[in-house]
């Protein structure tokens, strides 16, 4: 159905089908449940990467605070799960039963007001999208309306990530402090820690991921996506043409925030905890790096990049803990210096033209030989 539409061009279709095969067939068959759960963890970062492709690759807005939104989404989910795990029956030994254990340790006797709505699952689900979305809207509106952009935007988002981390770590009684919200057990009575649940969660997550890919691709192909690209290339001309540049930027930033938040919420489900170590500056920059390695202009590239970098991180740091940071650092530098468009750029610029040429020479069919990926040109 998609083949004949203009929704995916050929290389994107290859990317889509191979990703589908990889995630739905190959990986579940090839990996045991522990490794599959690791892949599931990586894929939660892929949501952030997809958001960054829209916001950074297409919109030209580099946010170094995606960890904030990943964390906000994750914390919204974790708060609901924690409240479910700390029912009165489960927390009998505490001095105040019925509140999360870390609050009890910090001498809180009552659930704080902003925790109360999270007893409802539907509220938590809405909050996962709306809390980061509204936060991104406020930050984005304040900055883009005043034409703060580029480097300054990056530094301010970084500062926001620092602020949120310090706040979460400092307010131990309300947030669980540096340990975060741990020991999450059930989702609506369904134990999320069993192997069976891990398999199901993995497939749910993959389904969400493909939904996210389709949404991002849809945004990219509409007029909206083209305005984003135009804005990245020549912001003033777009403004002079009568478009509200600020509003489009706010949209891209909010969309990226929501993608990240969904990733964060799924992360909480997959690993069973959420902590400030996924909110701060270092994880935020790492998320940008996944996107850069995969290709900032390619949605599929970003997903592949996330899986690859994380896979390399896990396997290398298991065997050569010393080498890992050297390798990662060298990878960033190499990607930035030599392949600004990441792995997808290598594919589009070097591999695919060769395949095309090979196919063209084999079938002796001239004419439509120049089917090059329609990625935007390098900056």
């Amino acid at each position: 159905m998609i083949i004949n539409s203009r929704f995916f061009n050929r290389s994107e279709l290859i990317g889509f089908v191979s990703l589908l095969l990889l995630l739905v067939v190959i990986l579940p068959l090839a990996l045991d449940v522990f490794r599959l759960n690791l892949v599931a963890k990586y894929l939660t970062y892929a949501f952030v990467a997809i958001g960054l492709v829209l916001c950074w690759g297409y919109g030209g807005i580099l946010s170094l605070g995606q960890g904030v939104f990943f964390g906000l989404g994750g914390y919204c989910m974790a708060m609901f799960l924690k409240l479910e795990a700390s029912s009165v029956a489960n927390t009998k030994i505490q001095s105040t039963p019925g509140i999360p254990d870390f609050m009890d340790w910090n001498q809180l006797t009552q659930l704080p007001f902003f925790w109360k709505p999270f007893q409802s699952f539907s509220f938590a689900l809405v909050a996962i999208l709306l809390v980061p979305g509204i936060f991104a809207f406020i930050v984005g509106a304040a900055m883009f309306k005043r034409r703060v952009g580029g480097v300054y935007f990056a530094i301010i988002t970084q500062a926001i990530a620092a602020i949120l981390t310090i706040l979460i770590v400092g307010q131990q009684g309300y947030t669980g402090g540096i340990n975060g919200i741990t020991d999450l057990r059930t989702l609506h009575g369904w134990d999320i820690r069993t192997d069976h649940a891990k398999y199901i969660l993995y497939f749910v997550e993959v389904a969400f991921l493909f939904l996210a890919i389709l949404i991002a691709q849809f945004i990219r192909l509409t007029k909206l996506g083209r305005i984003l690209v135009a804005m990245r290339e020549q912001e003033d001309r777009v403004r002079f043409s009568g478009y509200s540049v600020a509003n489009f930027k706010i949209f891209a930033f909010c969309a990226a925030a929501m993608f990240a938040a969904v990733g964060g919420a799924l992360f909480t489900l997959e690993v069973g905890f959420m902590s400030p170590s996924f909110v701060g500056i270092v994880p935020s920059i790492e998320m940008v790096i996944y996107t850069a390695v995969g290709g900032r202009l390619s949605i599929f590239g970003a997903v592949y990049g996330t899986i690859l970098v994380n896979f390399a991180k896990t396997s290398l740091s298991e065997t050569f803990p010393q080498l890992w940071l050297f390798g990662l650092g060298a990878l960033f530098i190499a990607v930035v210096l030599a392949f600004p468009n990441g792995l997808a750029g290598i594919w589009g610029d070097h591999v695919q033209p060769r395949i095309d040429r090979l196919l063209a020479s084999r079938t002796k069919k001239s004419g439509n030989g120049g089917l090059v990926a329609n990625g935007a040109p390098a900056e």
């Binding site: 580029g150 480097v151 301010i156 500062a159 400092g170 650092g329 930035v336």
Partner: protein, 308 residues
């Protein structure tokens, strides 16, 4: 919150916190001076700036060990030698990095951020491999220990005063180099109009390299000064980098005066609030205030008027 203290107590508190703030101010200024040159003048986002500082700190630590072993009689003065070594080490590494990496990225400022982040990871791991993961501290010579008793309630540590004096000295040198020396004028000419500067015979590539080297060298000296007031570990650089960028941006990127003013404002706000609130809340409030002010005034406190 003031109710529990008498007027005299409050005066002493403000004086002490003011001095603590001044030491923090010196730290910020030292960190930010190098970055104000690299980011403010050249537009390069150097995420490895913290690691250049740490390099200076490690060089100081090595020099102090060497003096203790080989020249114990000269130990009280080791620091001045160490500072020079730190400047040379960080400066030459900076020039090497500029040659290998940064010069290819002048047209893509956001990419310098990613590349230098990679560099910072490599440097961190290098420090960890060479010096170990443990934090190292420098043994201070006797004359730097202890504190000066100003009044009954006010005590000022001598090493803090030393760092302050050092900061003033370095600031004056940097201001002289940038604004009065022939080379500094070339730097500013290149920054304002690269093509025109090249046309009148300035070797812009060379100026770029030495500017970056100078910024990194100052970072090394800053790291050297840090060993006077704290210990150093492989990842310590990361703790400072955001603060440093905020100081520079808040002051108005290209303005040296702005950098100093913003370092003063931020450090005083931070240390005064720290006494009444917890340290983390003081930090949060300070950062929030900076972000809010930057949203209202994106160009920073002291914006330089430049034709674009």
């Amino acid at each position: 919150m003031f109710g529990d203290y008498s007027i005299g107590d409050l005066g002493a508190i403000f004086a002490m916190q003011g001095f603590a703030g001044l030491i923090l101010f010196s730290v910020y200024v030292l960190m930010a001076l190098g970055l104000a040159i690299i980011f403010g003048q050249m537009g390069v986002i150097n995420m490895a700036h913290g690691e250049f500082m740490i390099l200076g700190a490690y060089v100081t630590w090595m020099t102090s060990n060497a003096f203790q072993h080989f020249l114990p009689s000269l130990f009280p003065g080791y620091f001045f030698v160490a500072m020079i070594f730190a400047f040379i080490a960080s400066g030459s590494l900076g020039m090497l990095v500029e040659w290998a990496m940064i010069r290819r990225l002048y047209k893509r400022p956001l990419d310098t951020l990613l590349a230098t982040w990679g560099l910072s990871l490599i440097l961190q791991q290098a420090y960890r491999s060479v010096f170990g993961a443990r934090e190292v501290g420098v043994e201070l010579p006797d004359w730097m220990m202890g504190s000066w008793q100003a009044t009954d309630a006010i005590q000022i540590p001598i090493n803090g005063m030393f760092v302050m004096c050092l900061t003033i000295l370095i600031t004056i040198v940097v201001a002289y180099v940038l604004f009065l020396s022939r080379w500094g004028k070339q730097v500013r000419a290149v920054v304002q109009n690269r093509v025109m500067a090249g046309t009148v015979g300035i070797n812009t590539e060379k100026v770029d390299r030495y500017t970056f080297g100078l910024g990194c060298g100052i970072a090394g000296v800053a790291g050297s000064a840090f060993t006077m007031i704290g210990s150093t570990g492989p990842t310590a650089g990361q703790l400072y980098i955001v603060d440093t960028f905020l100081v520079v941006v808040f002051g108005g990127a290209a303005s040296l005066l702005g950098t100093i003013a913003s370092a003063f404002t931020i450090s005083q706000a931070q240390s005064t609030m720290e006494f009444f609130l917890s340290g983390s809340m003081a930090k949060v409030l300070t950062l929030l205030a900076i972000v809010a002010i930057l949203m209202m005034r994106p160009q920073g406190l002291f914006a330089l008027k430049v034709r674009k």
